[in-house]
């Protein structure tokens, strides 16, 4: 399969979860031009055909880049691998800091009850409830068994 087809197939398979950057764009364009040169060398059908082919290949390359950019834009809302989600400043210091009185007060001060409630939700996500409910009998059984 040719380079350009590789790119199109990649997009068709909905696997555009790659880091987008200028180097990525450049690589896609280089691949496209390489495929175009290969094709031109193989056909050798005269200047008019070469010009027509060159235009077609440029259009195809531009379309591939546009498709990838659009796919990335569509998926950025769901996946932001390069940008960590903003965390409350206190949460960044230590997981237990988000449950300190000042951290909870800051959340309330800055965002009212909604922000405080969100912080409670995040706290459960980070610190959890306990792994499970164990009766004394279950604990004794497990220690006797070991």
């Amino acid at each position: 399969m040719k380079h350009i087809e590789n790119i199109e197939e990649h997009v068709r398979r909905e696997k555009p979860h790659v880091t987008t950057s200028w180097s990525m764009d450049k690589r896609v364009l280089d691949d496209s031009y390489a495929a175009m040169d290969e094709r031109l060398a193989a056909t050798k059908q005269g200047p008019a055909a070469a010009i027509h082919m060159r235009r077609t290949m440029r259009l195809a390359a531009a379309a591939a880049v546009t498709i990838i950019a659009a796919a990335l834009l569509l998926t950025l809302g769901r996946h932001t691998p390069n940008r960590p989600a903003p965390q409350p400043q206190f949460a960044a210091q230590s997981p237990t800091m988000i449950v300190s009185m000042i951290s909870l007060r800051t959340a309330y001060q800055q965002g009212g009850w909604e922000a405080l409630d969100r912080q409670f939700r995040d706290t459960l996500g980070q610190l959890g409830p306990g792994p499970s409910s164990l009766s004394m009998q279950q604990l004794l059984e497990s220690s006797n068994g070991s």
Binding site: T96, R105, T106, Y108, Q109, D117, F120, R121, L124, S133
Partner: protein, 388 residues
């Protein structure tokens, strides 16, 4: 039988009973905790470990946004141990969460998030019971959540806010269940009596505000300037903690302490004085505002002074919700007596705490509504849908 024989027999019986009592294994066991918090902490540890989505779903069921489905029934069943511990806790009068006040604002309060989760579990369980037609059992859960709200208490401002939130979710559930059980006069009378007993609580923002006054005043001193700077930097300003600490001096902090103390003391006076709600709200709003963020002392105060008007509004809103529930019980009892909803609000019912006036009563296709006079927003309108 002669007297000597009778005395001997009684003596033998006494010794035998005493021996049985002494040898009884029940007496060898220490008593259960006399601090409800210890039982609640056990409940928190016994809550099922569920995904964020599953917990959010429980929350939606608890708030009545979605009916209980098979999944939530399974998840609540996994929390049976936690509910049992909370049930035991609700029977213990005293509750001390063991807040480490000596740590000031750094005091850890991990129990707060668990309280929110346990509340949703209890109320989701109440809604499952109601969906199964077990109205009394559902209302018992709501009352238990009410006790939990009282136990959450007002140790700190956050505790107070959480406590009011628990109360609100419990009242909302009660409001929905009452409508379904509208035809059961005996159940309504029982609920009325239970509410009269359990609602005698005196939680208020005054106590936590006094506590914060001490903590913040202590923090606004040069010997604690590094801690203070860390807190202020945490509020998201441009300056780093080191820069804030460098800028601070005794004069700035002394002025900040004075402004903060004056404003909180004024707020405490407003909250403790009987006055129309609008007047209190206006005064509290003024105490929170009019602070220049470019003035170091006033900016420091601004970072710590809570939204006093909103805290007060929440207090009055929960009182109003409680009054609406109690007034609705009376309306439903009148309906049970006469066979139809009254055309006008009966006299002598609990009033809207915002205005001090009777609720505006309106019959609807599905039941009736109670609205706070002069308030247009839906949050001040309590709807009671009656089952046919």
């Amino acid at each position: 039988m002669n007297n000597a024989c009778k005395i001997s027999f009684a003596g033998i019986l006494f010794v035998a009973l005493a021996a049985v009592l002494v040898a009884s294994p029940v007496l060898a066991l220490p008593p259960d905790p006399d601090n409800a918090a210890l039982l609640y902490y056990q409940a928190f540890l016994s809550l099922a470990q569920l995904s964020d989505e599953a917990r959010d779903h429980i929350g939606k069921v608890a708030r009545g946004e979605t009916p209980p489905d098979k999944q939530v029934r399974q998840d609540i069943a996994k929390c049976a141990g936690a509910i049992e511990s909370a049930e035991a806790a609700s029977k213990v009068p005293a509750c001390n969460w063991g807040v480490r006040y000596s740590k000031g604002f750094e005091a850890p309060m991990p129990q707060m998030a668990q309280m929110r989760y346990l509340t949703f579990v209890l109320i989701a369980d109440a809604r499952i019971r109601a969906a199964d037609g077990k109205y009394r059992a559902a209302l018992e859960r709501c009352l238990m959540a009410g006790t939990f709200a009282r136990h959450v208490g007002d140790d700190t401002l956050i505790s107070y806010l959480v406590s009011r939130s628990v109360r609100g979710v419990a009242y909302k559930c009660m409001q929905d269940v009452m409508g379904r059980a509208a035809g059961d006069a005996k159940l309504l009378q029982w609920l009325k009596d239970e509410l009269a007993k359990s609602d005698a609580e005196t939680l208020s923002p005054v106590r936590p505000l006094k506590m914060e006054l001490d903590v913040v005043s202590d923090l606004m001193r040069m010997e604690n300037v590094e801690k203070l700077a860390q807190v202020l930097a945490g509020f998201g300003g441009k300056a780093s903690a080191a820069e804030i600490a460098k800028m601070a001096d005794e004069k700035i902090l002394e002025r900040a302490r004075r402004i903060y103390t004056e404003r909180i003391n004024s707020a405490l006076t407003v909250m403790s004085t009987s006055m129309p709600y609008e007047q209190a709200e206006t005064q509290l709003k003024q105490l929170v505002g009019n602070l220049d963020s470019n003035d170091p002392s006033e900016a420091t105060v601004q970072a710590f002074i809570p939204a006093l008007d909103k805290i007060f509004a929440q207090k009055v809103a929960i009182e109003t919700h409680g009054s609406a529930v109690k007034a609705a019980i009376e309306i439903l009892l009148a309906r049970a007596r006469t066979g139809q909803l009254p055309d006008a609000l009966p006299s002598g019912l609990p009033k809207d705490a915002f205005s001090g006036k009777d609720f505006e009563y309106e019959k609807t296709k599905e039941g009736f509504t109670l609205r706070c006079p002069g308030k247009d927003l839906d949050i001040y309108r309590y709807e009671f849908k009656l089952s046919k």
